[in-house]
Symmetry: C2
Amino acid sequence: MTIKIGDVSQAAGVSIKTVSRVLNNEKYVSKATRERVEAAVAKLGYHPNSAARALAGDRSFQIALVYDNPSPYNAQNVQAGVKTRCIEGGYRMISQPSDAGSTTLLDELCGLIDQAMLDGIILTPPFTDNAAIRAELARRDISYVTLSPAMLDHAVAAAFIDNVKAAEEMTTYLVSLGHRRIGFVEGDTRYAASAQRLAGYRKALDQAGLDYDATLVRPGQFDFESGSAAAADLLALKNPPTAIFASNDEMAAGVLATAHRLRVSVPSELSVVGFDDTDLAQVVWPPLTTVRQPVRALGYAAADLLFQLPDKVEQRLLPHELIVRDSTAANDVPIGHCGQGVSEKIKDRKPFP
Amino acid sequence: MTIKIGDVSQAAGVSIKTVSRVLNNEKYVSKATRERVEAAVAKLGYHPNSAARALAGDRSFQIALVYDNPSPYNAQNVQAGVKTRCIEGGYRMISQPSDAGSTTLLDELCGLIDQAMLDGIILTPPFTDNAAIRAELARRDISYVTLSPAMLDHAVAAAFIDNVKAAEEMTTYLVSLGHRRIGFVEGDTRYAASAQRLAGYRKALDQAGLDYDATLVRPGQFDFESGSAAAADLLALKNPPTAIFASNDEMAAGVLATAHRLRVSVPSELSVVGFDDTDLAQVVWPPLTTVRQPVRALGYAAADLLFQLPDKVEQRLLPHELIVRDSTAANDVPIGHCGQGVSEKIKDRKPFP
DNA sequence: TTGTAAGCGTTATCAA
DNA sequence: TTGATAACGCTTACAA
C-alpha cells in the first residue's frame, strides 16, 4: 500500500489540510510547521496521488503536446524540450500524435481534454493554424501555446523562429560564394514554414539583383524521397543550378543521395545546404551547411510560455544560427544568428503554479 | 462545464451504476439498456473523467514506457508501437525518458508509480536488466514487460528479436559474397544487443572456417561519431577489411562518411552493412544492406504482452529480416527471416481489460 | 438485471 | 496560522 497524505500528517503531527498547504506552497504556514511536514514527506517518501489531486482541485498537472510530425528527430527534440520544462514545473507531459487529416480531430482532442483534465495544450504545426481547434480551446477557456504558427495572433502565446530571415541569410551566403543559379526545394505546403522559407529565398535573390526562376524551384514534402526527386529534376536541367537549398535536412539528404548517384561531386560541383530541422546533419554525410533551428529550445519555450499564461501572453522569437560546415575544418562555424522577444499582457486567469 | 456520468444516466433514464456498467463492458446489462446508454453517451459526447476512474477503481488506464535511448528514431518507433496498442485497449501511454546512469533512478520510478497509479510498465534496455528496478516492481506487484532484455527470465514477459541469429545471417551473407576480412563495429556495451550481435558475427566466422581477428573489431557507442572513428581505424590497417559490419545504422552512416572522405568506393571497394535499428537506412545514402529490426512491432508486442499479463506470461520472439539493398535494383530484397513464440502461464491477477 | 450507498485521496470552504 | 468537513466523478461492495 502506498503512502498517503494522512500518513504524512500523522507523522508530522498536523492536520491533513496543513500537509496539503505545504505541498501546494500556500501561504499561512509557519516556517516550523512547514519544515516538520517537509521532513515527514521526505522520510516517508510520499508522492501525492495525481488522480486525487486532479479530482479535488481542478488542475491535473498535465499538459498535452499535440503534433503530427513527419520527422521523428524533430518530434523527439520538441518533446524533450517541453518535457524538461514540465518536469521543472512539476508537470507531466502527455504527447498526442494526431493525424492532421483526420476528420475526427476535434473529437479526439475534446476526448483528451475531458479525460485528462488538461491544464494546457501546446499546438505544433499544422495544428497551430487550425481555426476549429483554436475556437474550441477558446470556448473551453483552455490555455494554449502555439509553436511555429503560420501567423502571429496577438492574443495567443507563441514560440517560433524567423524562417524568412533565416532562409534569406542562407541564400545570401550562397550568393556570396558566387552562386547565381540556386535551386530550391520547397517543404510540405501544409506547414507555414515552407512558404516562409521560400519567401526568404526570393527576398535574398531580389536583394542580390538575381531574377527569380521558377524552373529552379521544386515541390517537396519534407522527406528523403521528395528531396531525391527534386534534385534529379534540377540536375537534369539544361542549365542546372550550382547550389541547391533544401527546406529541411531530410530533403537535403535526398538531394545528396541523388547527386552522388549522378556522380555530381559535392561540394566542388554542387553546393547543398538545408534547414537542420531535425539534427540529421549529424547523421548524414557530408556534413551539411544548415540553418540550425533550436528545436529543443522551441519546445522548452512553448512550455515556459504556457506556464506564465494568463499573466502574460508572449510572442517569443528564438534565435537561429547559420552553421557553415566544411569537411576540411575541425569545427562548425556559426556565421550569424538573430533573435529577440516581445510580450504583451492581456487578461487574468488562475495561473499555472 | 463538462458532461458527467450523472448527465448520461438522466438522459438514458437509468442509474449511474448502469452507465458505469456499460462503460466498463460488464456483464448483466440487457441489450436494450446498453443501447440506450450508448446512444446517450454518443449524443452528449460524454468522456469519462480518468482522474475519477483512477481514484475509485484502482486502475489508471495508464502505462509507462521507460527508456534511455540514444537514438531518437528508435525511441520514436518504439513509442509509436506501444501507443498504437494502448489506444486500441483504451489506455494512455506515458513516456518516461530516464537517465540510465542516474543515482535517483529508482526514486524517480517510484514517484511516477505513486503519482500516476500506473497499471503497468514497459522496460527497454538498459533498464530491462536493472535488478533493483525489477525487484521494486515485483515487490509492488506491478505488471511489467521487458523489451529486448539481455537475458530471458521465465517469470517475466518479454518481446525481442534474435540478435545473435540476425548478426550471424548477415555475416554469412558477407562471406557468401566472397569477403574474408570483415570488420565489425560494436555497439554500446551497456546494451545487451551489442554482445549478442558480436556473438553472431563470431559464430558465422566460425562456421565459415574463418579465424576471428580482434584487430578487425572496434568499439562503438551506437552513434555516428564512433562509427566514423572505427572505420578510420579499420581502413588504416595494413590489411584493411573488404567489408564492415556496423552494429547499428547510425554507426553504419559514420562508416560510410569515413569511406567517402577517404575516397574508398562503396560498394565496389568496401561493403558496408548494418542493423537498421532506427529506420535511418531510408535517410542515409547509399541505401544500406541491413538487418531490419521490427522496432514498431516490438513496441506493439510489448504493450500487447502487458495487456494479457497475469493470465499469460509470454516470451515473444519477433522476426527480423535481412534486407539486401542494391542501388541498381528497384526494390529491396529480403533474403531471410526468423521468428516464433512460446508462452507459459503462471499466476492469477486482475487482468487488463 | 438494476439500483443504493460508501468510499477512493486530495483540495476548497469555512470556521476556529 | 490551523483544522473539520464537504465536495470532486467515478467504481466497488451489497441490496433489491
